[in-house]
Subunit: 310 residues, 2 copies
């Protein structure tokens, strides 16, 4: 079973407008409200691809009620810790003319210490059945810095590998704690490590203790960086679509393989890149198209031993 | 008592961002959710200024629950018809750097015939206690064209004057039905009448049957157009601020005077312009600043008999 933890879930609101003009008034049909947060999206993708999953997160307030209702309707197995603070919202305004999306993400409110402990307890309860633990997304401002390292340490004690997709100081802490896989994008890597070259930044995370860094590069595909090699997978031609949720699909692919005991770096990289590409062609985060194996066939993969880099 | 009817209420959501950039991702603190719709804003302003009010509208779905909770907390007396369709939402993204606001208004879902009848019934029940009826805001797509004229006719039978602030065909129907006061802005007048000159458009509404047209012109103040004269009120110097809700404050001023039996056109125009200006200095629609009487002192009022217009 793939166990996902979402420390900062969100109710994702989406409205479509003809053409978004700052300062103007627009008319729109009723917006959509969907349970989100990166760990929820990972669970959705893995569940839709037939993997056994359990999504753990929090919910609170009126927005939490809508979050719970949508998550229940999704069919994704989940367990929720009730919290006092309302579940945060995100706003996406989709410009139908240009096809781009303007996003406003609420930062989220920090659960109480007791609520964090309850979420931690849910992970501890579920770990014996887990083949892999995924910790995905941001943490609310003020979140205890120990939360991610404690989860990683507890999973390691239970022999469960941990995949982490987060940013900022939590990304460094995850590396220090020995996360099996980290999946930053280039901007997150540069911001967290202060190193301008993302591949060197990925190596810094490996030196801190991470086992593998999957570095997502948008239309340029994905890099798998280990102490020995840098492997690059990309499509033979770029895809048009919506990149929101592409990273979550990559994490879902990695988690599905890890849950099956697959650790081969190139296999993981290819599947992660293919699912990521298959997410770009879908309108909503948390979904991938069924033609992902055709996309996997189209990948161009190159590997460079460390010594050969200039 | 001022009776307001809001045929298309909304839960108004507001988020503040540093600088709104289309296509970009932004961070924001938790958004605000407030019960809105023009008639609700009118009732808020009049209630805050000490007038006796009753706000009638509909509520439905999860958004309706939030709408009801906020309206209850506001202290504005109200009666609600429960409807099956969820209360629509509006989205306002406030650019803190530029100070301007990008708005997305859901069109709203049309209540059933039985729900329209229930709302109509609430008006009939309340009319004996009403000194003035206000019908404010848009109608959802598909709304019965007879709703506004029937309300105006019923109020007229009860000897209650009616102020209407709407747009499109409903504005023409309100004129045909003999509304006491209409309050379009210039764009709404041009769009509804097809006449390029707003003052001529206002005269067309008078010819159809309206008693008085208050034509709001933003920073240029307001015009009161009757069959005999055009009276113009404006501040001696422009005000900086948020124009959202300025028209609702003007309607509230007009309603408060009509409820007190005041019909003098210049008195109504001055009060409406002053409350409108006092709304511009407030961050939220449905509120006016306490210094409105100082603003009223600063108005420059000019009157032109019809014959003198070139």
């Amino acid at each position: 079973m793939i166990l996902t933890v979402t420390p900062n879930p969100a109710l994702d609101l989406t409205w479509r407008v003809d053409r978004l003009t700052p300062g103007a008034t627009h008319r729109a049909d009723a917006g959509a409200a969907r349970s989100g947060g990166k760990g929820i999206n990972v669970a959705r993708v893995a569940h839709a691809q037939g993997a056994s999953v359990l999504a753990l997160t929090t919910a609170g307030g009126r927005t939490g009620v809508a979050f719970v209702a949508d998550l229940g309707a999704s069919g994704v197995p989940h367990r929720l810790v009730q919290v006092a603070a309302p579940t945060r919202q995100t706003v996406a305004l989709v410009d139908e003319a240009l096809g781009d999306t303007t996003i406003v993400n609420e930062r989220g409110e920090n659960p109480t210490d007791a609520e964090w402990a309850a979420l931690f307890g849910e992970v501890v309860d579920a770990l014996p059945s887990a083949r892999v633990l995924v910790i995905s997304g941001s943490l609310p401002p003020g979140a205890p810095g120990s939360f991610v390292p404690l989860l990683i340490g507890t999973a390691a004690d239970a022999g469960v590998p941990v995949i982490v997709d987060t940013s900022g100081p939590a990304l460094l802490r995850a590396a220090d704690a020995g996360a099996s896989v980290l999946k930053p994008n280039a901007a997150e890597l540069v911001e967290a490590t202060g190193i301008a070259d993302p591949v060197e930044g990925a190596r810094a995370l490996l030196a801190r203790g991470a086992g593998l860094v999957l570095l997502s590069r948008g239309a340029e595909g994905m890099l798998a960086v280990t102490a020995e090699t840098v492997t690059h997978a990309r499509l033979d031609a770029p895809l048009a679509g919506n990149p929101t949720g592409a990273g979550d699909a990559a994490v879902a692919a990695c988690a599905a393989l890890y849950a099956d005991g697959v650790r081969d770096t190139e296999t993981v990289l290819r599947r992660a890149t293919a699912w990521s590409a298959a997410a770009v062609t879908m309108p909503l985060a948390g979904e991938i198209s069924d033609d992902w194996s055709a996309l996997e066939q189209r990948l161009v993969v190159t590997s460079t031993p460390r010594e050969e880099r200039p």
